[in-house]
Subunit: 96 residues, 2 copies
Amino acid sequence: MSQGDSESSPSRFRARVHVYPRREILDPQGRAIGEALARLGFDEVAGVRAGKGFEVELTATDKSAAVAQLERMCSELLANPITEDYSVELLEDSAR
Amino acid sequence: MSQGDSESSPSRFRARVHVYPRREILDPQGRAIGEALARLGFDEVAGVRAGKGFEVELTATDKSAAVAQLERMCSELLANPITEDYSVELLEDSAR
C-alpha cells in the first residue's frame, strides 16, 4: 500500500554478450584456430571466427530495459564499434 | 539411384561455442570489467564473467553429428578442461 509497492520491483537477469570481429575485418586468431582444427583432423570445418563473450548479471525493471542497458554497455565498453559487432542474449533462466 | 544418392548428404551448420572460466575459478578479467562498468555508471551490474567465443562453420550429416563434432573440438582444442566450461549452440539459420 506504500508508494514503493506500486512500482515494479527490479528483477535479476542473466545475459550473454557476444562480441565478434566484423565480417569485413581480418581475424587472424580465428584463422589460426581453423588451421589448428584442420591439423587435428577436423576437415569438416569451413571457417572459424574468434570472439569474446561476457556473462553479465544485472537488475532491471523488465527484459527490454535489461537489453537496452546491455547494449549501452557494449557501445561504451565491451565492444569496439569500429572493428567489432555485438549481440545481446538474455539467458532462459533469467528474471527470477 | 547410385550408392551415393542413398546416403544423406552433409549440410552446412553455423554454430557458436561459448567458453567461460569455471564458476569456482577466479576471473580477474571479468572482475575488472565489472568494476569498469560500475565506474561508468552501470550500478545495476551484479557480476561479469569474461569468456571466449568461437563462430564455427562446419559440414555434418545432421544436427546431432554437428554438435558432437563441436564438443570434440572443445575438448581437444578450444577449451581448457581444467579451468573452463564450454557450451555449444547451433545458430538458427544453420542447416541450409
